[in-house]
């Protein structure tokens, strides 16, 4: 089969965007037909060998998620609800390569004998998926469900809740989705980029997947570049690439930047001295950053990191589903303290108060929104600690003078 030996990377466009157009003919010209008949055990072994990890944020190994999904009337969900306001990579993928995502969804659905397949994405993306579904010969029964444009709408339990009840709010979940998810059935939920990679692993194998990236972070990743960049761009980069390399792919000169927010609003800042470290959890451990959902938000030299961060913490507070008390009250309290620091209020205990509130909300919600928001605050106070001290004495180095 010539399709199986075709290597999309030789087309020079990376792995995921090798098709010239989003239609089925272009898709099959680039990648060949979808190989059917993967058994659960064979796919499990191939995914394990590939080292593919989730691209939605948590970075959980794809094979372990599959292994944790019980048999019987299983449900597979392709999650394309990015939530993150500066993330656009999933929308880009659904627009330009919908068949790759559908291939992944159908392949893993076949392997676990799933009875229901869902694709959950925002209203902007669904028409492209619907068009792709209509032209497929395998006519997969995929239910398309619209995700609201809200930060927490893509959280796993919020997705299941949205599919069941139409309300995209997180739920307390004593059981794992793999055991009891959608309507109590075993549920496998993957980010759409993860499914697109899975489709390629199913075609070309684990060794091919590992031919890009590093042993620690095999394959490629999509990054959404935003913030102080000439063009907001989605780029595909090999795993283990440094921040500087990924920025360069997007036409950004890293030397113009003071820091980059890595992973998303639940992520962490990496200052300029970390730009040559690999974009992996291990590489960025000293900053507590992981590639997460692939967000890289740039902060230009000369801009105040605390001002930028205060806006994000306020956004996170306003994104609370207001279901859990510690999140509903704690996040706005935390945001107010960070805003007071950013504004240059000369109150010495503000930094320790922000740390205390971040510690207080951690682990105390039905979902990880308080944890992620707290992580961002810890990161802000650590990476911009000199700036915090300057602000607490009434000055801001970015504004070159007194804030008041």
């Amino acid at each position: 089969m010539t399709e199986m030996t075709l290597d999309p990377r030789q087309l020079g466009t990376g792995g995921l965007f090798a098709a010239a157009q989003p239609d089925l003919a272009s898709h099959e010209a680039a990648y060949g037909k979808r190989p059917s008949g993967w058994s659960r055990n064979a796919l499990l072994a191939e995914l394990d060998a590939s080292g593919l990890t989730g691209r939605g944020g948590a970075g959980f190994p794809a094979w372990r998620k599959l292994a944790a999904t019980s048999a019987g009337r299983a449900v597979v969900i392709a999650n394309g609800a990015e939530g993150e306001p500066v993330s656009r990579k999933d929308a880009a993928l659904l627009r330009q390569a919908p068949h790759l995502v559908l291939d992944g969804l159908v392949t893993v659905g076949e392997a676990i004998g799933a009875s229901t397949l869902f694709l959950y994405a925002t209203a902007d993306s669904l028409p492209f998926v619907a068009q792709a579904l209509a032209e497929r010969r395998d006519r997969p029964k995929v239910k398309l469900v619209e995700a609201p444009e809200a930060f927490i709408s893509g959280e796993a339990s919020a997705v299941v809740n949205a599919l069941e009840t139409g309300i995209a709010l997180p739920r307390d979940k004593p059981l794992r989705l793999g055991k009891s998810g959608y309507e109590g059935r075993p549920t496998l939920l993957h980010n759409v980029e993860t499914l697109a990679h899975l489709a390629l692993v199913a075609r070309f194998g684990a060794d091919w997947f590992r031919s890009a990236g590093t042993a620690d972070d095999p394959g490629t990743r999509l990054y959404s570049l935003s913030g102080d960049v000439p063009t907001e761009w989605v780029v595909e980069a090999p795993g283990g690439a440094t921040i500087r390399e990924v920025l360069r792919l997007g036409g950004v000169d890293a030397s113009s930047l003071a820091a980059v927010l890595v992973g998303g609003f639940h992520g962490a800042w990496v200052p300029a001295e970390g730009f040559d470290l690999p974009l992996t959890g291990r590489g960025l451990a000293r900053y507590g950053a992981t590639p997460g959902a692939g967000v890289l938000m740039a902060l230009a030299r000369g801009r105040c990191g605390l001002e930028a961060s205060a806006g994000i913490v306020r956004y996170l507070a306003e994104s609370s589903a207001r279901q859990c008390g510690p999140c509903m009250f704690g996040l706005p309290a935390m945001a107010s303290v960070v805003e007071r620091i950013a504004a240059g209020e000369r109150t010495p205990w503000l930094a320790s108060e922000a740390e205390r509130l971040a510690g207080l909300v951690t682990g105390r919600g039905a979902c990880r929104h308080p944890d992620g928001s707290a992580r961002f605050v810890h990161s802000t106070l650590a990476v911009f600690r000199d700036e915090v001290q300057t602000h607490l004495s009434g000055m801001c180095t970015a504004h070159r003078g007194w804030t008041h």
């Binding site: 997180p170 739920r171 307390d172 004593p174 279901q323 859990c324 008390g325 510690p326 999140c327 009250f329 704690g330 309290a333 207080l360 951690t362 682990g363 105390r364 919600g365 039905a366």
Partner: protein
């Protein structure tokens, strides 16, 4: 010893249900205090380890929570 008896007793707080009435913090002052807004807080976020001598008090807290926001369970942690 079987796996169940070796497993740690844990009090799970469903913060989506909890309304901060505070009954649990009165029944289990050894494990729970109230945070700035009146919600229970213990070591370990929403999963609070329960030593065996406090198992009965913890069960009382579960049974008496007016919002049914507490659950007592045994978990094995790696």
């Amino acid at each position: 010893m079987d796996a169940l008896s070796r497993a740690q007793l844990e009090l799970h707080i469903d913060f989506a249900r909890c309304d901060g009435r505070g009954l649990c913090t009165e029944l289990l002052p050894e494990l729970l205090v109230r945070d700035d807004w009146g919600y229970p807080v213990g070591r370990g976020g929403r999963d609070v380890r329960v030593p065996e001598p406090l198992a009965t008090a913890a069960q009382d807290a579960v049974d008496l929570c007016p919002l049914q926001a507490l659950m007592l369970r045994r978990v094995t942690r790696a």
